[in-house]
């Protein structure tokens, strides 16, 4: 009787240890999977944010009327001479403010003579997390 009891308890301990090791390994693996998924999504968002910021920078530096350029390409944006905001949906397509998931803020940081500088910030609308930020400068050419 004693031998049987000893064998049972040994088996139980073995099972408990095996389940514990498996649970720990599974938990670590699932955490790593979730982290890799988040990283991949963040990379995609950063990539699109950089591309959009570069495009807006091209609009701001092209010609003498950056606000008009912005309005032409982003009809739903709030554009003023002090600051402009472009709204994007979850698929990073320009949209109206109500459907906004991401937003791009364009702030003129300085204007001296013929040099205009802007700060472009792309952030998530929900928690205001900054995804990408860049400075751009436009030089108004001297014309005869």
């Amino acid at each position: 009787m004693k031998r049987v009891s000893s064998r049972s308890s040994l088996l139980l301990i073995e099972i408990i240890i095996a389940i514990l090791i498996f649970s720990v390994a599974s938990a670590i693996c699932l955490q790593l999977f979730a982290k890799s998924h988040t990283l991949s999504k963040q990379t995609e968002e950063l990539d699109i944010a950089v591309r959009e910021a570069v495009s807006v920078s091209a609009l701001l530096t092209d010609g003498d009327a950056p606000e008009e350029n912005l309005a032409r390409f982003y009809p739903y944006a709030d554009i003023t001479s002090d600051s402009s905001v472009i709204y994007y949906d979850a698929a990073f397509q320009p949209c109206e403010r109500q459907q906004s998931y991401f937003q791009m803020n364009i702030l003129p940081s300085s204007r001296q003579d013929r040099i205009r500088a802007y700060t472009i910030t792309v952030c998530k609308d929900s928690n205001r997390t900054t995804i990408y930020r860049m400075e751009t400068t436009s030089y108004e050419p001297l014309r005869p």
């Binding site: 049987v4 088996l11 099972i15 095996a18 498996f22 599974s26 693996c29 699932l30 999977f33 890799s36 998924h37 991949s40 999504k41 990379t43 995609e44 990539d47 699109i48 591309r51 570069v54 495009s55 807006v56 091209a58 609009l59 530096t61 092209d62 010609g63 350029n69 390409f73 050419p141």
Partner: protein
């Protein structure tokens, strides 16, 4: 010998076997989950890289060759091409960037030479590549990757002719 036989129960075999199958099934589920997630992540990376490579490549080319209003959109063999002109040792050369047979290609050739788009160097796989002039100095590049994802980039020409 008799005692040993009487103490052996069915559960002694069934329980470890069941446990083994439970572990095996859990391991298989974890493996399938991992494979799916890895595949998903790899696909996303490939899509990002394809779109990013094309537009980054074009943007770098433009920044590198943006002198004296050298950017143009032309049509060769019925295919629209983005061209960049430059002069080396008093000889004019033109770089053609275009989509041909599902590949983004670049052809660097003397400006007065016969152009054959097939001879271009492969850059990356792509479904479609187009360039449109959106203003005096503004160009819009649109690339559609092999998965059908569209991405576009605006670039302004800084130099003047």
């Amino acid at each position: 010998m008799k005692l040993k036989t009487s103490n052996r129960h069915m559960i002694d075999i069934v329980f470890p076997l069941t446990l083994f199958f439970v572990f095996a099934a859990s391991a298989l589920i974890a493996l399938i989950l991992a494979a799916n997630l890895y595949g998903n992540t790899a696909d996303r990376l490939q899509i990002n890289d394809q779109g990013r490579t094309v537009l980054s490549y074009v943007s770098e080319k433009v920044r590198q060759s943006d002198t004296g209003g050298s950017m143009e959109i032309s049509e060769v063999e019925g295919i629209p091409c983005f061209t960049l002109s430059a002069e080396y040792n008093n000889t004019g050369y033109t770089t053609y960037i275009y989509e041909y047979d599902g590949m983004l290609k670049e052809l660097f050739i003397r400006s007065n030479a016969q152009v054959s788009l097939e001879d271009g160097m492969d850059i990356t796989e792509i479904r479609s590549f187009s360039v449109n002039k959106k203003g005096d100095n503004l160009y819009q590049f649109t690339a559609i990757d092999s998965q059908g994802n569209e991405s576009s980039l605006l670039i302004s020409e800084r130099s003047e002719p």
